[in-house]
Symmetry: C2
Subunit: 386 residues, 2 copies
């Protein structure tokens, strides 16, 4: 069925792109990051189909036995994976979430209610239409529901359906997160902001070029997504050497820099950063930079302003890497590689339903396995408890 879903998307590529063009035409007032997330072209539609193919080839987690033993009484115990149930997916902009979420929920035996943003409504409907024949052929067309985004009251009603809907997964900006948090009576796994940091440590011997590449990649490669870097922290011992070079790299790529006083001394083009900058997920070609006195100061800054999504340390010191890892309480910690790797596909999970900023059930990139829960099965031959 999933192969047929992918085929359906490929076959409808032109229809999907035409619907997306209509959405884009109406969305001209949105900011560039939003527009980038909304836009589809034939390469992105093919990537959507390829992600579904990839999910179809992943191992099947349903029924997988994750624990088994014989109890002293002779009872055979099994803990096995079962579907969560009905999942409400609430998201904005990126139409590929429609096919990713549908395929991941089908793979894991769940039903999904898709509630995308009104700005992507035509794109999302075209994708659901492209998928539907595959569901009809498998006689499970009810496994996917499309929630009309123009009916604004429906989200609140759905979020209150305790016992009927088992999980809500909101993916989007702070407004959406706040609305869901205030309304939801059903369990929620948030896919919230990524205020991600790269920290350049005092020990950078031999890593100066890597540091440049990691900072530029983390900021510039796709600035509109949640694993992009938003603040660069630089140890003052290496700031004189690396900051001007990195700043030039960034400025050449059109990045606007906002820095503290030490940064502005080294990078005259930098505007003054305020506390608001430390808190902001720009999702744009803007980077806040701060020079710190120590690794502890970097860790404190991350604890105070970070969102627990993804942080990176660039260091040649194993001790510093260990301290960073032990102290930074984020879903993903990168040692000497780009924050942009924080992604289900990169982690080998196949497509992801999102990147969870919850601490419970799923944390960080969340794939099909995380869309299951457990059931305990005990097989006896008449045992009773004494």
């Amino acid at each position: 069925m999933l192969c047929a879903v992918a085929e359906g998307i490929r076959r409808s590529s032109e229809t999907i792109i035409a619907a997306n063009d209509a959405d884009m035409a109406r969305a001209s007032g949105l900011d560039p990051a939003m527009l980038d997330r909304l836009r589809l072209d034939s390469a992105r539609v093919e990537a959507m189909a390829a992600a579904v193919d990839d999910i179809s080839r992943q191992p099947d987690h349903l029924g997988a036995v994750v624990d088994q033993r014989e109890l002293p009484s002779g009872i055979r115990l099994e803990k096995r994976r079962v579907p969560i149930g009905v999942i409400l997916m609430i998201y904005e902009s990126r139409p590929n979430v429609t096919s990713d979420a549908a395929a991941l929920c089908l793979k894991s035996g769940n039903c999904v209610l898709l509630r995308g943003g009104s700005e992507a409504c035509r794109s999302n409907l075209a994708i659901v239409d492209a998928i539907r024949p595959a569901l009809e052929a498998a006689d499970c067309v009810d496994a996917i529901g499309f929630v009309d985004p123009s009916d604004r009251a429906s989200v609140g009603q759905l979020l209150a359906m305790e016992g009927r809907i088992d999980l809500a997964i909101p993916r989007g900006g702070p407004g959406l997160m706040k609305a869901v948090a205030e309304t939801a009576r059903i369990p929620v796994i948030k896919h919230d902001a990524g205020n991600c940091h790269v920290y350049l440590d005092a020990s950078l011997e031999g890593l100066e070029e890597s540091a440049r590449a990691i900072v530029v990649n983390s900021k510039v490669q796709r600035p509109g997504v949640c694993n992009a870097c938003e603040t660069l922290l630089v140890h003052r011992r290496v700031a004189d050497g690396v900051l001007p070079v990195i700043a030039r790299d960034l400025l050449e790529r059109g990045v606007e820099i906002r820095g503290d006083a030490d940064t502005r001394r080294l990078v005259p083009e930098a505007a003054a950063a305020s506390e608001i900058d430390w808190k902001t997920e720009y999702l744009d070609l803007v980077l806040a930079i701060r020079v710190v006195k120590s690794i502890d100061d970097a860790i404190d800054h991350i604890e105070r302003f970070g969102s627990g999504h993804t942080e990176c340390i660039v260091t040649s010191s194993e001790k510093a890497a260990d301290e960073f890892l032990r102290s930074v309480d984020s879903a993903s910690v990168m040692i000497n590689c780009s924050t942009r790797f924080a992604d289900g596909g990169e982690y080998g999970l196949g497509a992801e339903i999102g990147i969870s900023t919850n601490r419970l059930h799923a944390r960080g990139p969340m794939g099909a396995e995380d869309l299951t829960t457990f059931q305990w099965v005990l097989r006896g031959d008449g045992q009773v408890r004494s």
Copy 2:
């Protein structure tokens, strides 16, 4: 430290029992199931200490690597267990929850705020006092906090502390569950009601005696706890043969029976059951009995009235067992053994923090491993994403 905690409980056994006597004296108005849960004697205090010892001997889940691989780019990925953080435990009556929860949270690297019921306040305080010297010796006395139950506003304030408290675990009756659900802004793992069923299938060849023993054990062995059986469903093909015998077993043990018309025909002592009985978690020596036409009727009854905690089928048919297992969506499914086995200790998890009726993160008996979450660690040497 956990061994010292267990030792502290043993050393303070008399003080704890004296404090419990004072609680019991004030609690004489409570119902028998509540009183049974509240009561401590030297055997129960020793069982509390033994549970802590047991937890100390369990494997350490912190830092355990649950997934690792090398990514195509050469980055080494690890998914490892880390503590959840600060856990708010809200519970009623049973004072052993105090030491179980404390030991399990310490074992898994968490801080815990203990908010027991006011009826058990002296017992709980005595237990915390008995534990404290062990914490002081290990310089982590702040890992356990005691919330004064007489300050009724504090629970609501604590449940609203998003970002400060990572998880609330309520264990108790419907009133507590409703209050928590309405107030909580932090994640909650409920330990809600167990409206557990035993279903006696049409195929009982050779299992008639087992059926008797399982029904009696599931109902009578400890009626005041959540894995006790509350409704018995009997296939009409075997009802004539087994129901009168089982009813006599139950009546002899003081069980009050409430049955449907078919049951009352076979068991004249049975009172008439109404829909309220199908919904009720008696936590007492009362059993509802219904004669069903088919296994599908039994499954429908469980789906409609059950709480998803634990259900049991007694059958000699593998086909019936498979159908029951596939269709009954409960945390634990027992095939030919007592519902009373649904317990962390019985499952080999050591003491349990409770039995989760949530579908997410932890389902069914919840031990120390379920009190951890994950962190992804990526170690590279300069990789960037292309």
